[in-house]
Symmetry: C2
Subunit: 349 residues, 2 copies
């Protein structure tokens, strides 16, 4: 015969003629019973095909699952397509892996799921929010559960526990670098704007990463240049980020007068801008300077190699993971960034 359902701890107890408690102890507290009895129990379990205590039932009873969640507000495929995100997740995964904790990639937060059912229903002990949207209303669905949670790069979030970087200082340094080289016709290759389709009380579209834009503005105004002389083009969301960068790059380079320098909000976008320049036989850096952000491997592999703002992506992931594991209730960590000058910037022609 073939029993449809698996044997439970109670079945084993019955078979051996002991209580459930004792069987439970055989698994969880070997020191609480004689070695012989334990061996007998384990043998019987093996015999019956008992696979050990059920993780879900154990989770219910113990009040913890050993899983932390990661939410992202773009399709997960984007996450793996973006080298910066991959590095961040690597940092997260490393720490959780060592801690014996599982990292659950939750289904994405959908624009059409304002109540964030996903977050209300995730069986996790804590949450890392890696959402670029600046609103954290949807996160409220999780906060209500009173579980630890960390926001990463949360922008304007008011979350108590967060880790981020000095976005503003980063783009400011990058832009100052260009201005110091003599550039006056600047352009920005910006992230796509974010959708809030139909959500009342919010702007229809908000700028993504306003701090990065703010840093550029800081540097421009510090130099006494008019902000409205700076061309800002936002990327779209088709295909890879690099392809999107190529398209924004095209729009920027086809303007006249043509900007002599582009500040891109990520290395992928910057690489795309360089692609667009190559399409047009515009030499980088002789005719066009380009700076990126992130300092992912992409930055070192473009031709010419990218001047960019380095951010400690893996460390950011590790930090977020530790804050969660340590249960730091309201730590706010800002990691430093650093301008790395390579070959994609030079004085204007």
């Amino acid at each position: 015969m073939f029993s449809m359902s698996l044997p439970t701890l109670a079945d084993v107890a019955r078979a051996v003629g002991v209580s459930r408690t004792t069987v439970s102890n055989a698994y969880n507290r070997p020191d609480q019973l004689s070695k012989q009895l334990r061996d007998r129990i384990l043998a019987a379990a093996e015999d019956l095909g008992y696979p050990g205590p059920d993780p879900v039932a154990r989770g219910l009873r113990r009040g913890r699952t050993g899983v932390v969640g990661l939410v992202y507000d773009e399709p997960l495929s984007y996450m793996f397509t973006d080298p910066a995100a991959v590095l961040f997740v690597t940092g997260l995964a490393t720490v959780f892996d060592d801690a014996g904790t599982s990292l659950a990639l939750l289904p994405r937060l959908r624009v059409d799921d304002p109540d964030a059912g996903v977050l209300a229903e995730a069986a996790v002990d804590g949450l890392v929010s890696f959402c670029e949207a600046s609103d954290d209303e949807r996160i409220a669905a999780f906060v209500a559960r009173r579980l630890p949670f960390v926001t990463v790069d949360g922008g304007s979030t008011r979350a108590a526990c967060r880790v981020g970087i000095d976005d503003r200082g980063g783009t400011r340094a990058a832009t100052r670098h260009l201005i110091t080289l003599g550039h006056r016709r600047l352009a920005v290759a910006a992230f796509p704007r974010h959708h809030h389709e139909g959500r009342p009380g919010r702007p229809e579209r908000g700028a993504l990463r306003p701090a990065r834009l703010g840093g550029i503005r800081d540097a421009v105004e510090d130099a006494g240049l008019p902000w409205d002389s700076v061309v800002v083009e936002s990327a779209d969301e088709e295909g890879t980020r690099r392809e999107a960068g190529r398209r924004v790059g095209g729009r920027i380079l086809d303007r006249s007068p043509r900007p002599t320098a582009v500040v891109a909000m990520s290395d992928e976008l910057a690489a795309g801008v360089i692609d667009a320049a190559r399409d047009r036989a515009i030499s980088v850096p002789d005719e066009l300077s380009v700076v990126g952000f992130d300092d992912t491997p992409t930055a070192a592999s473009t031709a010419p190699a990218l001047t960019t703002v380095h951010q400690p992506l893996v460390a950011k992931g590790e930090t977020a993971a530790r804050l969660l594991l340590d249960g730091a209730p309201d730590a706010v960590v800002e990691l430093p960034v650093e301008l790395v000058v390579r070959e994609s910037t030079a004085p204007p022609p």
Copy 2:
């Protein structure tokens, strides 16, 4: 006052003056009660700060969690370091994301955890095993739970449900390509061997991906060449795979007579071999031909671009995910591979 523990469904029921069933229905079967009552219940819940049904308790009752696990037998950081693995996971994640299922990256299967406690204790509805080790003994800990599971690239596994590629055909085609070009002094840049430290009844170290080695041998013997004329060097496991490739490449290129062609078991290794050639001012492909395996973005970005064996990595992930979601009990899928000739191969000098 501050209640230490969250309100439960029962608290809401009491507050509203209805039964728990009715509150449960308010969440799970809106059509089973009047809209007014439902609204009253939801309002009271909001009021009390009830975050909705507890996911773990629900999981216990329903018998499913909405989570599938992914096991890997290397540190998770390796997974994200390897472009081929990232593409595979992208495929997985895309399908699960769309299905509203979470993908839990389980802590790695440790060599020193022969009972695979990780697998026995994971609160999941199914499992994807992405373990390169050819033994599946540790997986037995999971099989006992009678949950769906899929093995990917499982090598010699006897698992009922698996997806893989034509490893053997792939390296065979690649090797034949080299032999047809006229190469006779071949070398193989192989994967590291795998550890079975101290596990009784197993070889101390087993070759990883024996099928790929087998395909090379096939082609060599088909051509009537002696197999022992082929140099086989295994990579070590320090640093990135590409760095390891550079070291194996060095060992191969420093032999005399120097091989004129290298079959690498992955694009990362191949890229490393090209790095090693550059270190020694050996021209690829004029003095040395190199072929890879996988056809990741790396293959297109080396200089010269890699001749390699394309495998559908994303599709492999998608397939594995679908098999799991569809509960296919014992499907065996083998995806095709294809030789892609680029610029890293040419006739020998």
